[in-house]
């Protein structure tokens, strides 16, 4: 589609500065969220596309008053679009983040990494609605009221999903330790 002159405008310096601030502030949390909803190779693309959409709709994003929720909603919609196109994707438990723990010995580091891997495996095995609430609460840091608003579910449903997820994770991790 051709864009007629005058209908669109380039981002100015102030827009760019604002957007780059959001990239720094919200980018890691968006990436953590996208990794739980889509294949790892798609997550980074989702994040980049999310900021691209934000740039196209700066006025709406500013007027929302909560740029983080606006970005999360955009990322969620993009993930769902991608799922629709490629529904057979599964979320891998292998993650990129394997940062060393300062001051810890190799054995402690290895144990922690093993525990984190088990946790990620257990989260990856959860159904998507549960997984989504877990990452929104723990990593993104939303409150349950905000999660309910973002997912368009009642507050009780968000709380209940978290409760179910925690129960399953505890059960699974106990199983991992025993085995």
């Amino acid at each position: 589609m051709r864009v007629r002159p005058g209908l669109r405008g380039r981002l100015d310096a102030a827009d760019r500065t604002e957007l780059e601030g959001w990239v720094t502030q919200f980018g890691p949390r968006l990436l953590a969220y996208a990794r739980q909803l889509t294949a790892p190779q798609d997550a980074e693309d989702i994040v980049a596309e999310t900021f691209c959409r934000a740039a196209q709709n700066l006025a709406a994003m500013r007027s929302s008053g909560r740029p983080d929720l606006y970005l999360l909603t955009t990322a969620r919609n993009l993930c769902r679009d991608r799922f629709r196109r490629r529904p057979a994707q599964t979320v891998s438990a292998e993650r990129i983040d394997q940062s060393p723990h300062p001051g810890a010995g190799p054995a402690v580091c290895a144990a922690r990494q093993e525990h984190q891997r088990a946790l990620r495996d257990a989260v990856a095995a959860l159904p998507e609605p549960l997984r989504e609430v877990v990452v929104l609460r723990t990593t993104v840091g939303l409150k349950f009221e905000e999660i309910a608003g973002l997912l368009h579910v009642p507050l009780g449903t968000a709380l209940s999903r978290m409760h179910t997820a925690i129960g399953r994770l505890r059960q699974k991790l106990d199983y991992v330790r025993e085995s």
């Binding site: 864009v3 209908l7 669109r8 405008g9 380039r10 981002l11 827009d15 957007l19 780059e20 990239v23 720094t24 980018g27 890691p28 949390r29 990436l31 953590a32 990794r35 739980q36 980074e44 994040v47 980049a48 596309e49 900021f51 691209c52 740039a55 196209q56 709709n57 006025a59 990129i96 983040d97 940062s99 525990h115 984190q116 946790l119 990620r120 989260v123 159904p127 609605p129 877990v134 990452v135 609460r137 723990t138 990593t139 409150k143 349950f144 009642p154 507050l155 009780g156 449903t157 709380l159 209940s160 999903r161 978290m162 409760h163 179910t164 925690i166 129960g167 994770l169 505890r170 991790l173």
Partner: protein, 231 residues
């Protein structure tokens, strides 16, 4: 759950009393925060990579803000598409049972209707008691949808409420005079909560037909036959 996730400063008096007699909940409250903290670490993505930042900057360079007129044009396109879809839905014969998830048998649907009616009644009273502005039918439909997808098996159990017992601790007291707050019809029974399901069985009879209706809507939405639902 809020306590486990660090949203609440400490247990309420009711929760403390419950914890003295319930080892499962006590273990959850004691070990839950550690699990949540571990999850926070395990699922964190860390700073964005330089490659990803470069990719974002490149895309931003190519991005232009959309104008209001472009937005209105998009709305017009969507409007035309929606109208076409509506026209097709009206004129084409409905064939909802040829595809979709596996069809449950009549016994399953009947059982679901019972639970649905009970859940709807309970939800109706709980929402009124808590002064929450949700529609009970929406809440129940959402939970049944969760159940049907295997997200929350508790909704299929006779003792299941739309809220789990753990959530009772979290629901704030209704604000006096808050919009939508109504005096619940079964307040004394709900205030105690342990026997809430039994106390609400009377309401289930009143709300039963509504529950079946919700069940039918959910079943239809999933492309299932609804003939098995007891009328």
């Amino acid at each position: 759950m809020r306590l486990t996730c660090g949203e609440s400063a400490g247990p309420s008096a009711a929760l403390r009393a419950h914890l003295t007699v319930c080892p499962d909940c006590r273990e959850l409250v004691e070990s839950g925060p550690e699990l949540v903290a571990d999850l926070r670490t395990a699922l964190a993505a860390g700073p964005l990579s330089a490659d990803l930042k470069a990719e974002i900057h490149t895309r931003l360079d190519l991005t232009e803000r959309s104008s209001g007129r472009a937005w209105r044009a998009a709305v017009r396109v969507i409007g035309v598409a929606a109208a076409a879809g509506l026209l097709a839905a009206i004129t084409l014969p409905w064939e909802g049972t040829s595809s979709g998830p596996a069809r449950p048998n009549a016994r399953e649907l009947n059982s679901l209707s019972d639970e649905c009616a009970l859940a709807l009644a309970a939800t109706h009273v709980l929402l009124a008691w808590d002064g929450l502005p949700f529609d009970a039918a929406d809440v129940v439909a959402d939970r049944i949808d969760d159940w049907s997808r295997g997200v929350d098996p508790r909704i299929g159990a006779r003792s299941a409420l739309p809220w789990g017992p753990e959530d009772d601790w979290d629901v704030p007291a209704p604000a006096k005079g808050a919009p939508g707050a109504r005096k619940p019809t079964a307040a004394p029974a709900i205030a105690g909560r342990p026997n809430a399901v039994r106390a609400l069985e009377g309401h289930a009879g009143v709300e039963r037909s509504v529950g079946i209706h919700v069940c039918s809507i959910v079943a239809a939405g999933r492309g299932l036959a609804v003939q098995g639902v007891r009328s």
